[in-house]
């Protein structure tokens, strides 16, 4: 185990933000921390990163490196008046790491940024800042990276590129990555494990695939002639433009699809819809 946070509690006055939170992370795996806004994700990350102190509980990181853990909390905070080189130089220097031209080029290529750009970072897009923030977090090769809402504000291309980068860091560099998000679809195909934080407590944990599957109650079916279907009239179906939301209760989704095909409906897609209320809440715990 590379990181273990046990029974973490944090309060601000009478407000309990985290209540006995325990998470365990293994080398090279990607962990997702999901929960609604205000669930306590960022507070937990700040504690893991040592920015704030917990009231009780312990954190153990099994690493002998200079920098056991790195990360980005909320938005990447960079010196806007400095270039990418200037930023990396400052953050390398303070941890007594000499930023050579080779290291700079390597760091920039690792996160998919061009080392040729010389202008101030304030001109960068959010996606580029995220990447530069990640390059800074990766200085001195930490064993674990914590990324708080890394996809927030990124366009679909940016999200896709960051997905690939995170997977690459996990697989090729064996870095443990912990990501938070309140958008489940972003984490669904990225994470090995999920922790669900609700009102400061971990209420669910397990493999991402299992947790998401358990909380899928509705499917979005698209196809031709859906409105003519007799099968859909017998299940709870909500018709939308060229698609329908189906929540089968007495039969499985495969049975519904089979009957639709037998009816002559041309199904073009069937996308499971995670029940966020069930996943984020205490229902089914």
């Amino acid at each position: 185990m590379i990181l273990e946070a046990r029974n973490i509690c944090k309060s601000y006055g009478s407000l309990e933000v985290l209540k006995n939170v325990t998470i365990e992370c293994h080398k090279g795996k990607i962990y997702g921390l999901i929960g609604a806004n205000g669930a306590g994700k960022t507070t937990l990350f700040r504690i893991l990163l040592g920015l704030i102190k917990q009231n009780s509980g312990s954190i153990a990181i099994d690493s002998e490196g200079i920098k056991p853990i790195g990360g980005i909390v909320e938005k990447p905070a960079l010196y806007g008046y400095l270039s990418a080189f200037g930023n990396l130089k400052v953050f390398a220097q303070i941890q007594r790491l000499k930023l050579t031209k080779e290291l700079f080029n390597e760091s920039m290529h690792q996160v998919g940024l061009s080392p040729e750009r010389k202008d101030a970072v304030k001109n960068y897009s959010l996606g580029m800042k995220q990447r530069l923030g990640l390059a800074i977090a990766l200085l001195n090769n930490p064993d674990c990276i914590v990324l708080d809402e890394p996809f927030s504000g990124l366009d679909p291309m940016g999200i896709s590129a960051l997905h690939s980068l995170i997977k690459k860091l996990s697989r090729e560099n064996q870095i443990t990555i912990i990501i938070s998000s309140h958008i489940v679809s972003e984490l669904a195909d990225l994470c090995d494990m999920l922790y669900v934080l609700y009102d400061g407590e971990i209420i669910k944990s397990g493999s991402a695939a299992r947790l998401l599957k358990e909380n899928v109650t509705t499917f979005k079916i698209s196809g031709k002639n859906l409105e003519m279907s007799e099968v859909l009239k017998n299940v709870d179906a909500v018709f939308m433009n060229k698609s329908v939301l189906v929540s089968p209760k007495e039969s499985t989704i495969s049975e519904v699809l089979q009957r639709l095909i037998e009816e002559g409906v041309e199904v073009t897609s069937c996308i499971p819809q995670t029940d966020l209320k069930a996943l984020f809440g205490r229902e089914g715990v």
């Binding site: 700040r46 920015l51 909320e74 905070a77 008046y81 200037g86 130089k89 220097q93």
Partner: protein
């Protein structure tokens, strides 16, 4: 620690506000010189009209030494105010931009980080006062030349040109310690308040109150001798005929002790607090 100090110096060198600070200092200097150039002679004549009938003055009284003395008096308010604004910004801007979080996410101790801020603030203060002093001496002597210095301090005091230069240099050196005190206070205020505007307001109030308290007699010898605001004027003592060196040394050493105390308070508060931008 050295690497932290170097990175702080690098950041300061790259920020435009450093140039603004320098420009502000030089603009104040320029205004004093310009107004002296156009109106100074008339004012001096008006002030010394009666005395000129009884005494003989060597050279022009509107000379470089008088201009340096006038600029030196910006150490009362203008220079410390600019220093307090800029130096508190070294930390408040890190809170505003949340870069302090990115710094503390690296393997850096909070103690070393905040100590490096204090050390760089002191270096910056020394540099600003040095630039002010050097440019003041060069420009003033170049434009207005040398001459006897007349100063009003509990009455009119006159100093010969060479003696005046010596006293002015010492006054700048002594004033530097006062500037360091105000700089350290401003950084500690930034540690406490985090927000730039709040820190500027409190720093300005601190400076004004400090100058007001300096003039108040507390009717208590210990307070009058030891209270911090009573220690910030030692640089003026060089313009008494008999320079009270022991008093200057005492005041400066005590002011340095106050600076260290304020710095220790700032360090302790910073270390205890969570890092949140």
């Amino acid at each position: 620690m050295i690497s932290l100090i170097r990175s702080e110096i690098y950041k300061i060198g790259k920020q435009s506000k450093t140039l603004y600070a320098l420009a502000a200092i030089l603009i104040i200097e320029g205004f004093v010189i310009m107004s002296a150039y156009y109106q100074g002679a008339g004012i001096i004549d008006l002030l010394l009209d009666n005395l000129k009938e009884s005494f003989e003055f060597q050279g022009n009284l509107l000379n470089g030494n008088l201009i340096i003395y006038l600029i030196l008096n910006s150490l009362w308010f203008h220079v410390p105010l600019i220093l307090m604004i800029i130096i508190s910004g070294f930390l408040t801007s890190e809170y505003k931009d949340k870069t302090i979080e990115t710094v503390m996410l690296q393997p850096v101790s909070k103690l070393n980080f905040i100590l490096s801020k204090y050390i760089v603030s002191i270096i910056f203060t020394l540099l600003i006062v040095l630039i002010l002093a050097v440019t003041t001496f060069l420009i003033s002597y170049w434009i207005f030349g040398y001459g006897d210095l007349v100063v009003y301090l509990d009455g009119l005091n006159f100093f010969e040109s060479e003696d005046a230069s010596y006293r002015l240099i010492n006054a700048f050196l002594s004033g530097t310690i006062t500037m360091v005190f105000f700089s350290v206070v401003s950084l500690t205020l930034a540690v406490i308040l985090k927000d730039a505007t709040k820190t500027w307001i409190v720093a300005a109030i601190f400076l004004i109150c400090s100058n007001l308290l300096l003039k108040i007699d507390f009717n208590n010898e210990i307070i009058n001798e030891l209270f911090f605001s009573k220690l910030t004027d030692s640089w003026q003592y060089f313009f008494y005929y008999e320079v009270p060196y022991s008093s200057i040394y005492f005041k400066n050493i005590l002011l340095l002790a106050y600076s260290i105390l304020v710095m220790v308070i700032g360090v302790l508060i910073f270390k205890r607090r969570d890092i949140q931008g």
